[in-house]
């Protein structure tokens, strides 16, 4: 038997979560369908005038992405918690923060990434220009990881609680507002001619900041919840 390196363990965790999701495809699909539905609800609510919809577009897509991500958060740890694998992860001889990061990456690949890839199609419903669509995808690719990361902390804190997805959303949504502001702002900057780069840089900064801190904080939250 050979020793497994840290990177190896990270890869194992990501692979495992992806494999599990493949065998339960419904979870990933429901998140996507929810996303599409929420975006489509807005025109139904506010009317079909293209001018107004165009202005609302980036905000609507972003809010829907936020909500769809929130929906999928409880799943991050709950299944492992229920069958005892989470305990085993906490007893691993490698840093729990790295394992948590692996789970976050897998979660993002199953929620944020598909959302970002499908968003252009939805953007077309709102008559967004091609440049705007590109920036939308880029912004979502930068912003959704942060949602997964902050969400991981929330999911870890609410492990096993009855409130479920609603409680996590209550805790996590306020913290995600900066991502929303700069993410939607980046897309609007395209149409208003202002600087896209500054918005995207902020998103990038958030992502780096979250990357450094959230795995550790989430690992602490797991320890608190599992006591």
């Amino acid at each position: 038997m050979n020793k497994l390196s840290l990177m190896g363990l990270f890869g194992l965790v990501v692979r495992r979560d992806l494999l599990l999701a493949m065998r339960r495809r419904a979870d990933v699909l429901t998140t996507l369908i929810f996303f599409v539905m929420v975006v489509s609800l807005f025109p139904l609510g506010v009317g079909p005038e293209m001018d107004m919809l165009r202005k609302m577009a980036s905000g609507v897509v972003w809010v829907a992405a936020l909500l769809a991500s929130m929906l999928s958060l409880p799943r991050m740890f709950s299944a492992d918690h229920a069958d005892g694998t989470l305990e085993q992860m906490m007893l691993a001889p490698q840093s729990l923060s790295v394992l948590v990061l692996g789970k976050i990456v897998a979660h993002w690949m199953l929620s944020g990434l598909p959302l970002a890839l499908i968003a252009p199609v939805l953007g077309l419903q709102f008559d967004m220009s091609p440049q705007a669509l590109w920036i939308l995808v880029l912004a979502l690719l930068l912003g959704t990881p942060v949602l997964s990361m902050i969400g991981a902390v929330g999911a870890a804190l609410t492990l096993g609680l009855r409130g479920g997805g609603v409680l996590v959303s209550l805790l996590v949504l306020p913290l995600c507002i900066p991502v929303l502001i700069f993410g939607a702002g980046a897309v609007e900057a395209v149409t208003s001619g202002m600087s896209v780069v500054s918005n995207l840089s902020f998103l990038g900064a958030f992502m780096l900041f979250a990357l450094v801190f959230t795995p550790f904080v989430a690992a602490q939250a797991l320890r608190i919840s599992m006591e």
Partner: protein, 251 residues
């Protein structure tokens, strides 16, 4: 087990001390409040550009300032409880939260009351008001998390972590909202001019002092009831005169 260096850091002794201290804060609070509101509503001159309605800022500004400070203090106590495992610190954090939320709420209401005469709308998306709203959400999240966890120790530690994460985020959120506000050229609620009449300053400080004293008094009272709740099964609680009275009356 940690050594109690300070005699009053144990809930048992703090209970008594808190009880004795409350009047020393409650009465001055009431007095300062009366003074502040009197000056604010009757003595301070009418503002040139805004009508009488501006006087609500004497409540709005202290409430805003305090709502933010209380969050930081609450997070501080929570962090102490998390790191040093002192029970009283966690209880203080739990005691501060509702008051902080209340002040955030008052700040929002008073902001709205101010905005209505000025802008004609009950709510404007001013950067500070919006940040205040988010702060209220953070408070509510903290309270909700603590209430959702049955095991008190886990509840204290989980909400402490949340409060710490929230504190780090508050500057980020505030900055983002400011950016958002300037981007969209939203409404800005400004203070009157650059120089405030001396009476206005006096009123402001008086109400601010009153609010601080009120917070201390109310928190002390609340922490006493939290202590009672948590230690309900211990001997010393059941020996307290006020508890004996209730039990005596019942049986």
């Amino acid at each position: 087990m940690a050594i109690n260096w300070f005699k009053y850091s144990a809930p048992t002794t703090f209970y008594g001390l808190a009880g004795k201290l409350i009047p020393f804060f409650a009465w001055p609070a009431a007095i300062f409040f009366a003074i502040g509101l009197y000056i604010g509503f009757f003595v301070a001159p009418t503002d040139a550009t805004q009508s009488e309605a501006y006087r609500i800022i004497f409540l709005h500004v202290p409430a805003s300032i305090l709502s933010m400070f209380i969050y930081l203090i609450m997070a501080g106590y929570a962090a102490l409880g998390l790191i040093f495992k002192t029970r009283l610190s966690s209880m203080m954090a739990q005691a501060l939260a509702p008051t902080g939320a209340l002040f955030a709420f008052i700040s929002l209401w008073s902001g709205a009351l101010w905005g209505k005469p000025m802008w004609g709308a009950w709510w404007v998306w001013d950067a500070r008001l919006t940040s205040e709203l988010i702060l209220l959400f953070l408070y509510l999240g903290y309270i909700a998390l603590h209430a959702s966890i049955e095991d008190v120790r886990r509840a204290d530690r989980a909400s402490a972590l949340l409060a710490i994460v929230g504190s780090v985020n508050v500057p980020i959120i505030y900055f983002s909202v400011k950016w958002w506000n300037t981007l969209h050229q939203g409404a800005t609620i400004k203070m009157t001019g650059t120089s405030m009449h001396i009476a206005m300053q006096q009123a402001m400080f008086a109400v601010l002092a009153a609010c601080w004293l009120y917070v201390i008094a109310v928190t002390l009272a609340r922490v006493r009831s939290i202590i009672l709740e948590r230690e309900a099964n211990t001997q010393w609680v059941n020996d307290l005169p006020e508890v004996k009275q209730i039990d005596g009356g019942r049986s």
